[in-house]
Symmetry: C2
Subunit: 340 residues, 2 copies
DNA sequence: GACTGGCACTCTGTTAACGGGAGTGCCAGC
DNA sequence: GCTGGCACTCCCGTTAACAGAGTGCCAGTC
């Protein structure tokens, strides 16, 4: 049986009321608050159907109805018009972000901004290295056998790494290495570098071969493996709004999940350009986050994506508002990055 | 009236039992669990005195006793023998920290280690810039009017900052600036740099004056103002152990406080060398953290301090164990830093 | 003088009973 | 297809009773 317009309207009303009041909503209250034009009894019939189809459920017999994950899904997919941001919100974004001095600063401001506007937990991924290009590599001698490798990318990220050399290096040698490495790698996308690094070693004069090999292995590690991704997090205190009710009694699993970078990356990673993704409840595939939803979006200059950002909150969240905010912030950050 | 040995023994027993069970402890239970050699009635008399002196209190008439902040204070100051770390813990530290590749890595590992060992929230401050010395400054051209300033310190920190130049720079000029800046500042403690930077501008040839002024102002900002301090945090999920009881009903104020860098810095800042500081309850002066205690310690190579680290938990915490762990980790990290 | 056993008292936390309230499902009628 | 009415269910807050734990005090003992 397909759902007619009124039933959808009833579902929307239930979601909206439940999000607002956090209490199961009954047929009477529904007709009082929304102009549905029918009686409670009729609404009850509709509710029975909606329940049968799995969009809403009753916490217990003779309680009001609560949306299920499927209900929210339907709501988000078919019943939501994107709420334009209020001028106040637009201004808040401007005011918050203006004057950011570097990437770190941008990321931190963004994550706080998101947390504040949505009143949820916010996550921002630093521009992904694999999607960046090398701008410059610097080698700084720390001792006779140690170098600090500093990599600057076109997205503004700066990664450093200590390199232990096989033997002492003369000043000129560091210089030479620095030159060669930059020659070969500067301007290249990080994803394309591994073969180039390989080549670098092969083309190297024999007397510097050992040092270069060493440097190359650290380069590869830095470029592709460890710390590929960095994250910023803010607004965990927002989890406590609305009591602990939202997360089936305890915040613990949620807080635990938030400490795992891998999990967070999974939540806000793999995004498509120019879309905002919504994962509702179970959809996020993470046990600890059964009763959480994630709204995320990729950001980057133009239509490319260099990283993801998003917010996490109870499934019972204001989807239209949150989606609008996340999208707006993602755009704003993208534009900011484009300017550099 | 001064407290005789047995009364102190009673206080110790109360603290230990309460920390373990999280329930008010009564006279009967006390004599059962500890060999005090006297009857419950006698213990009750002692308790009455301890209560009068403000070291313990009753949640309600006819409930057991609970230590007050003052009670914990006395316990920590006079009744605690530092518990040596178990071999298992020593091994855990080794295993956890071995293979750290750079400062970021060290800090992250440390904070997770601390959280795991103490089962509390852990905070680690990056080596403070003001206590570090400049090792090297690098200027990387980003566009004709933009430079990326990268500063590497002797504690391994790398700070970057974008510099907007007043006008286009020739290649040679960047080189020149880089040279001069390093000449003057490399090897200097950051705290001593402001007058040197000033000098740098004054000594500068007229045609480079504008550029140098610009660079200098960013340098000063980077060196002394913004982002002077960085922090890592872990283990917030541990706040939920022991129910929400520990923090008078809600985690919210605690989570809020943990998001404020300034607050955290206050908690683990200003430490004396080679000591472990304990702030109990109110002592931390922060409203949101009334019922939290902080155990912190400075770390650094040798007896110098370059940063602080510590853990935060309910006043009802295992002080001897926590103190021992924090101290051991601080030493370990200090030694690690000394090696570089 | 310090310690102890005994005893009356207080307070908590749990359980059970109860009634009001909210909400439902169903049915007969419009 | 919608509606009003009605019986039923379940929750939640209140109240009462009660067992348990712990106390303070007092009189007695070493």
């Amino acid at each position: 049986m397909s759902l007619d317009d009124r039933k959808l309207e009833v579902l929307r009303a239930i979601v909206e009321d439940y999000v607002e009041t956090q209490e199961p909503v009954g047929s009477k209250a529904l007709v009082d608050r929304h102009r549905l034009g029918v009686s409670p009894a009729t609404v009850r019939n509709d509710m029975a159907v909606l329940e049968e189809e799995g969009y809403i459920r009753q916490p217990h017999t003779s309680a009001g109805r609560v949306p299920t994950d499927a209900g929210y899904r339907l709501f988000v997919d078919r019943l939501t018009k994107i709420k334009p941001l209020s001028p106040a919100e637009r201004r808040a974004i401007e005011r918050f972000m203006v004057g950011a001095v570097d990437l770190d600063d941008v990321v931190h401001r963004t994550v706080r901004l998101l947390a504040q506007l949505t009143r949820q937990v916010a996550v921002v991924q630093y521009p992904s290295l694999s999607r960046s290009a090398v701008r410059h590599l610097e080698l700084v001698p720390i001792s006779t056998t140690r170098l600090m490798l500093v990599m600057i990318t076109d997205t503004g990220r700066v990664e450093q790494r200590l390199v232990e050399m096989p033997g002492p290096l003369a000043d000129g040698e560091v210089w030479e290495l620095r030159l060669r490495v930059n020659e070969k790698l500067a301007g290249q996308r990080l994803a394309d570098t591994p073969p180039l690094v390989q080549k670098l070693v092969e083309d190297c004069a024999a007397e510097r071969r050992a040092a270069m090999t060493c440097l190359a292995s650290v380069l590869l590690e830095t470029l592709v493996e460890r710390s590929e991704e960095r994250l910023a997090l803010a607004g965990t205190a927002n989890l406590t709004r609305g009591g602990v009710l939202d997360f089936q009694g305890t915040l613990r699993p949620v807080l635990e999940a938030l400490e795992e970078e891998v999990i967070l990356l999974k939540l806000i990673g793999d995004l498509e350009p120019r879309t905002t993704r919504v994962l509702i409840g179970d959809e996020n595939q993470i046990d600890n986050l059964r009763s959480a939803s994630v709204v995320s979006s990729g950001y980057g200059p133009g239509t490319t994506i260099v990283g993801g950002l998003g917010v996490l909150g109870p499934t019972r969240m204001d989807y239209p508002g949150t989606i609008a905010t996340v999208r707006a912030v993602a755009r704003y950050v993208g534009d900011l990055l484009a300017q550099n």
